[in-house]
């Protein structure tokens, strides 16, 4: 079943030199699966994720021929409709938990507030605790009463994920959710996300710069370059990528097994950006 339809999504920012298009006609559909969007900085991958949730920062503007979530036309959604969607049916996890958690509220209160939209007070408390356990926090009672600054990066990120997930969204957009984390913690966070897709049938858009990680974690991968999708392929078939940009990105990574020295560098061709 298709959860999200995106057709010809464009995001423009006005600059002194005239409007700059950072996302230029991106189209894809998402089912109850893990979709990876990879690209380097400035490829428009993050703006794509934000535009889906209607979070394009002003003065930027997002337009699309079709932007549909579970049959709801997001382009025409009223602020009231958005309130019913964001944080409840569709959520977003960002890179740095420090900017996404309220610093003067305990984790528990923030979680309960997110849960209260759909549950009673007592129920919200139970669900908050359960969710903290679900994201592999070993001492949920302590984290429940803690303020964000009292948590380590990994804990904070997990608390953040718990908050995004407590409303059991149908769609989660994760923008570099693990790149601030240590590799060993990173894998644990990915496991949580994976389980939510498997068990709850959530749709996941996983935005990352790390081709190797996306390749091993997602089902499908969109490769973005200069605001466009240059290649879409199954994650398992990443090694057989046909676009020279995707190949270049894969080849320029150093390998533990040892690869070429010097590392092959990516030579960008102007044609890719057209």
């Amino acid at each position: 079943m298709t959860l999200l339809h995106v057709e010809n999504l464009r995001v423009t920012f006005p600059t002194r030199q005239g409007p700059a298009e950072v996302v230029r006609g991106v189209s894809f559909t998402l089912g109850r699966e893990r979709l990876g969007i990879v690209g380097e900085s400035g490829s428009g991958k993050s703006q794509t994720g934000r535009a889906i949730l209607g979070l394009t920062p002003p003065p930027g503007r997002a337009t699309a021929d079709r932007l549909e979530f579970d049959g709801i036309d997001l382009r025409a959604a009223t602020p009231r409709q958005w309130r019913g969607l964001r944080g409840i049916r569709m959520s977003m996890v960002m890179q740095d938990p420090k900017f996404s958690l309220n610093p003067v509220m305990t984790i528990g209160r923030q979680l309960m507030e997110a849960a209260r939209r759909t549950a009673s007070r007592a129920e919200a408390r139970d669900r908050a605790m359960a969710m903290l356990e679900a994201v592999q926090i070993r001492d949920p009672a302590r984290v429940f009463g803690a303020y964000p600054h009292e948590l380590s990066g990994g804990m904070g990120q997990r608390a953040m994920i718990a908050m995004m997930l407590i409303a059991e969204p149908d769609l989660l957009i994760a923008d570099e959710p693990t790149s601030a984390l240590d590799v060993t913690v990173q894998i644990e966070v990915l496991r949580i996300l994976d389980r939510l897709v498997q068990d709850r049938g959530m749709g996941l858009v996983f935005i990352s710069h790390d081709l190797r990680l996306v390749g091993s974690f997602c089902d499908r991968v969109l490769v973005m370059y200069a605001g466009r999708v240059v290649e879409e392929l199954k994650a398992a078939e990443l090694a057989q990528a046909r676009h020279p940009y995707t190949q270049g990105l894969l080849n320029c990574l150093p390998r533990i097994e040892g690869g070429r020295r010097p590392l092959p560098v990516l030579t960008r061709e102007e044609g890719w950006a057209l």
Binding site: L213, C252, G258
Partner: protein, 251 residues
């Protein structure tokens, strides 16, 4: 004899015991890696060697000179450092020209013009960049400037603190190649700190794995390639660097 000899190094910041008894030796011309996660104390080791963090206990010698609190002018000419974040390591109001000419002025070099131009050429920037400000450069270009700044005093040792972790993969490859080439051309000695095992495996002949301020184990590049890690922690790191494996269960 080892060019750099660190023995039983401890670093304390007040109550925090950041490095707890780390020892290693690096030979002249060698490239040595330190791997660990955040909070492992790997960057603090570098900072203690170059004098930005205190040596609370233990000995650090560079080229036979035991390092105390004050570093001599000669020390700065022998040893330089490249920082992780190229956006934070260049002064926002100084042109590239000023960045490169300042170390020359401090150490009283006279042929500054020629040295600046040579340094720019060597890091592949070209002369057009000389009078630009950092905000006019991309991350990769800034890191090249930082490398040029470190090289302009012609040091023997370069300390590299996650030099590519703030850069895109394709830019990382370019910067790693540059560092590799410079080492070959100038016979430099590197100590490279990174959280990325693949980068260390690519750049370094030997490496030290650190966790919680302590050394876990020392490996050679061949050990790493053969996955011949003795400690569980190193094996976890190796497994994690492969990417995600869904089959495994955590419980």
């Amino acid at each position: 004899m080892a060019l750099i000899d660190v023995s039983d190094l401890h670093v304390r910041f007040g109550e925090v015991h950041a490095v707890r008894g780390v020892s290693f030796r690096v030979a002249e011309g060698e490239s040595y890696g330190i791997v660990g996660e955040s909070g492992s104390g790997k960057s603090t080791v570098l900072r203690a060697i170059c004098g930005l963090a205190p040596i609370s206990e233990g000995r650090v010698t560079v080229a036979g000179e035991e390092l105390g609190r004050r570093r001599s002018a000669g020390f700065h000419r022998r040893l330089q450092m490249v920082f992780q974040d190229p956006y934070a390591s260049l002064h926002p109001r100084h042109t590239i020209d000023r960045v490169l000419s300042e170390p020359l002025a401090i150490h009283g070099f006279d042929d500054r013009e020629a040295r600046i131009l040579r340094a720019l050429d060597e890091v592949g920037l070209g002369r057009g960049f000389r009078f630009r400000y950092p905000h006019q450069l991309s991350g990769g270009q800034r890191q090249r400037v930082a490398i040029a700044r470190a090289l302009i005093l012609e040091p023997r040792v370069m300390l590299l603190d996650e030099p590519t972790s703030a850069l895109d993969a394709s830019i990382q490859a370019e910067v790693l190649n540059l560092l590799d080439r410079l080492r070959a051309e100038r016979g430099l000695t590197y100590i490279l700190v990174s959280h990325d095992l693949a980068v260390v495996a690519h750049m370094c002949e030997r490496l030290l794995v650190m966790q919680h301020g302590q050394a876990v184990e020392e490996l050679t590049r061949a050990d790493l390639r053969a996955r011949a890690a003795r400690e569980t922690y190193t094996r976890d790191l190796l497994a994690a660097s492969e990417g995600y494996r869904p089959a495994e269960s955590i419980r």
